[in-house]
Symmetry: C2
Subunit: 332 residues, 2 copies
């Protein structure tokens, strides 16, 4: 096999078949993917079937703490997880730029396969396309996930009430900052790693708590954007307690230098939850039992009004606006 | 709303929300898509659940007979249809290049929504990403489909036997040739239209015929590539009767001028079927009842040996090789 992707790797013929067999089917052997079928049969599990999809255009393709392959699994697994579902099946789309290194493709798809195995999901169908040089950016991926939610689990913004507590499972902004630092043009380097990970252990641990109202993973636009979505959908306000929101020192330093606000930066391994006030402590305790939830904390509450307000350590109030300009493109 | 896509349309904030509400959710209103949810709940239907995915990078985005929007529905609907399933749900990924026209995006997504309506599928989840100028090609789409196959329907290459007949539902190579002509650099224009369409009416009409073994839509690599896939999987050979394979005059003219073989060019609205010899006539008759199946015909048979052979009108035999170089990139 030649070492760089050519347009012929996308034409349906021999080179494409070999590429799919040697890289995709090989890495995904555990998934029992049948590359000769038009559609995969999937077993229906107990509960309510749920479907979600996500595309991945992160730049660079590898960053401290992850790469586009593992991210493409975690992003879709997490969307199902925060919906209260157990992810079971994934499909995979790869749009590869002519000239991309086949060796790097192998590394990234192997990473994807490992992440899928760790999350207990099977990649059951896929598609690859090759686009000409200058019409892509190395590799774009998209994954679609099917999961099953136990019928009694009922989560959604419609369940949010005034006085509910807002909980986040860990420090915010790590992923956005790590990707930023991985871009060479900034000339910065740090020991910061992305938080990118499956949040499934966290959501499985709490999804049947009766006082749990809603969960979301704060990706693009960060926790401030999730709070805006809550305020818009519920017509309640949100008060966040700045001193309760963990932000790593290195994230704060980079944000101060470059003028970013960590509340608007993407996380890829955190969960924001809204829970009844009498169950928020229980939720925090359950999350703290996990490494990725060690710094879980109540960070605010649902209020009257319709504003998203940050209460500063000195008791001042700062309105968190809806995100307008892109603070940081291509982080997922 | 400004008229061109900016990176801020992909950042999770206000512009992205407005873009999704005003274009995607608006066009897909019939689908009852909930753009505020992380995952969509889907009803399970009778039968066996099937999952498939496809990416779309066709260039140009609009061509005689279709566009990337309708193609993104038909491609995935057809993969489920030829598997014997009735498609029900789609998810949609859009990777949009900075600077793309919002007006054109609206036209293409409206076309996609119309095609989904016509096929009886609901688009229940989606994701958009915006990439910088020069890192895309206007618009790439990916769709993933969920469908349900009646439990008694059992189709697959494992059911193919020596002596089975091969049937195609209409003329071949229209789509590939139409896309080729739509590329201005060729300086050619014809009245040829792509065959791109849903083949669901055809597959529903025959999927319960007990003698039907296998169906596939001959997209990338054309019918020659489907025949190679059959030969490789079954270890049988294939004899195709050149005089029985319909090729439109305009397709033949263009192929002769440019050195393409229509048997290797993509169709996007045809089905190749393999059926028991005593049921191939019944299958052809059922297909001919439809406009898109009017020219259905038996075009060959499954033989001993392992070669894909074209029998010419004069009785000569030509070996059809597996596709190597890309005859025509970016046709789907």
């Amino acid at each position: 096999m030649s070492e760089l992707i050519t347009l012929a790797h996308g034409n349906g013929g021999r080179l494409m078949r070999e590429l799919i067999e040697e890289i995709f089917a090989h890495a995904l052997a555990d998934s029992h993917i049948d590359t000769s079928a038009d559609a995969a049969t999937i077993d229906m599990h107990e509960g309510v079937a749920m479907l979600t999809t996500d595309s991945f255009t992160v730049k660079p393709l590898q960053f401290p703490g992850g790469d586009i392959g593992s991210l493409a699994v975690h992003g879709t697994v997490n969307d199902l997880a925060v919906s209260g579902a157990t992810p079971r099946y994934l499909t995979l789309n790869a749009i590869i730029e002519e000239g991309f290194s086949i060796g790097q493709l192998r590394i990234l798809i192997t990473s994807l396969a490992r992440a899928a195995r760790e999350c207990g999901v099977r990649v059951v169908a896929g598609d690859t396309k090759v686009v000409a040089r200058g019409e892509g950016s190395g590799l774009y991926l998209a994954t679609t996930g099917v999961g099953f939610r136990p019928a009694p689990v009922d989560l959604g913004m419609h369940r949010i009430k005034e006085g509910d507590h807002i909980i986040v499972s860990g420090p915010v902004g790590d992923h956005g900052t790590a990707v930023l630092l991985a871009r060479e043009q900034f000339g910065l380097r740090g020991d910061l790693k992305s938080d990118a990970a499956s949040v499934l252990p966290l959501t499985l641990a709490v999804r049947e708590l009766p006082g749990l109202r809603f969960m979301r993973d704060p990706t693009r636009g960060g926790i401030a954007t999730v709070m805006h979505e809550v305020a818009r959908a519920t017509r309640y306000g949100v008060h966040l307690d700045e001193s309760a929101i963990a932000v790593r020192g290195s994230v704060r330093t980079v944000c101060d230098m470059l003028g970013y606000d960590p509340l608007y930066l993407a996380c890829e391994g955190r969960v924001v939850a809204v829970a009844a006030p009498d169950q928020s402590d229980e939720l925090v305790q359950r999350w703290r039992a996990f490494d990725i939830g060690r710094e879980a904390a109540v960070i605010g509450k649902i209020t009257r009004g319709n504003a998203v307000v940050l209460v500063t350590p000195l008791g001042g109030e700062r309105l968190l606006q809806e995100l307008e300009d892109d603070p940081l493109p291509r982080i997922c």
